[in-house]
């Protein structure tokens, strides 16, 4: 597993207080991990802080799953 994926998952586990085993790449923040809209905003802000990237509102709207987040951050850092 890539370093980015590991860090993204750690943030999700830490922030949403869910078990690490549930944070699979295809897990949806809202449908599978119990996040509400405010949680998703907080997650995006946590990703921005951790990876030093800026995630626009348009981009943030499309980050629905753990994989979406990993892919987006990889594309910004690539």
């Amino acid at each position: 597993m890539s370093d980015i994926a590991e860090r993204v998952k750690n943030i999700v586990v830490d922030h949403l207080g869910v078990e690490a085993s549930k944070v699979t790449e295809n897990a949806s923040f809202i449908d599978d991990l119990g996040a509400d809209s405010l949680d998703t905003v907080e997650l995006v802000m946590a990703f921005e802080e951790e990876f030093g990237v800026e995630i626009s509102d348009d981009a943030a709207e499309k980050i629905l799953t753990v994989k979406d987040a990993i892919d987006y951050i990889q594309s910004q850092q690539g």
């Binding site: 509400d36 405010l38 907080e42 802000m45």
Partner: protein, 245 residues
């Protein structure tokens, strides 16, 4: 009556009549208090009265940078902000026909925009800790209007609408957002009124007197307390009955 031990409060406009009373009563209830304002000497005097647990945090809230710097300074001095009291406010009274853009902008910038920026800057920490209190000092004129105060009344009405929206966004995180709306309070801001104006004013106040800063501060302490956890998006009108809304 209410225990705020272990809480950290930031009060803007803390050298003014109402602001310093709020700061003192929050401190008396056990909170550590950051005193923000533009007049450092006056802030130092308030700090001296409170004693330990008060921090002087000068700030110019007319700019975005000033507001954001204040929250950084407060967090550096106290570690965190649990209670934000947006009390800083100024007036530039004149009839609308004669009001300059500058009079309008200055009042909106300091009274409303700064309150938004400060709220935005403190809410992240509050969300993480699942506890917070954001309290806006608005005014009766924000609800009733007042000739000569289109700018001030708009800023105060804006604060009420902003607080209701914030309250809805943040309620699930244990953060409440409320306002206190003073009527006519005996402070330097109302000392400029003539005796004739005061006499007429008192005729419209069933309580028969001007309010005191302490009357306002008591409401703020309540809204900051654990006991007020279920109250959010509300405006407490503290005005001796001059307007019952």
């Amino acid at each position: 009556m209410f225990d705020l031990t272990g809480k950290f409060a930031l009060v803007t406009g803390a050298s003014g009549g109402i602001g310093q009373s709020i700061a003192k009563q929050l401190a008396a209830a056990g909170a550590k208090v950051g005193l923000s304002g533009t007049r450092v000497e006056a802030l130092e005097a308030v700090k001296a009265e409170i004693g330990e647990g008060a921090f002087v945090l000068p700030a110019n809230l007319a700019t975005a940078e000033g507001a954001e710097q204040l929250v950084r300074d407060a967090e550096a001095a106290m570690g965190q902000v649990d209670i934000l009291v947006n009390n800083a406010g100024l007036t530039r009274d004149t009839l609308a026909m004669r009001m300059k853009d500058e009079d309008w902008d200055t009042v909106l910038d300091v009274n409303l925009t700064a309150a938004f920026r400060l709220s935005r800057a403190v809410m992240r920490g509050m969300m993480k800790r699942r506890w917070g209190r954001i309290i806006g000092i608005t005014s009766i004129v924000g609800v009733t209007g007042n000739p000569g105060q289109t700018n001030y009344a708009a800023s105060k009405a804006g604060m009420i609408g902003m607080s209701k929206s914030l309250a809805q966004e943040l309620a699930s995180r244990g953060i409440t957002v409320n306002c206190v709306a003073p009527g006519f309070i005996d402070t330097p801001m109302t000392h400029v009124l003539s005796d004739d104006q005061k006499t007429r004013l008192l005729g419209g106040i069933p309580a028969g007197r001007l309010g005191t800063p302490e009357d306002i501060a008591a409401s703020v302490v309540y809204l900051a307390s654990e006991e007020a956890a279920y109250m959010t998006g509300q405006t407490l009108h503290v005005n001796g009955g001059m307007a019952m809304i």
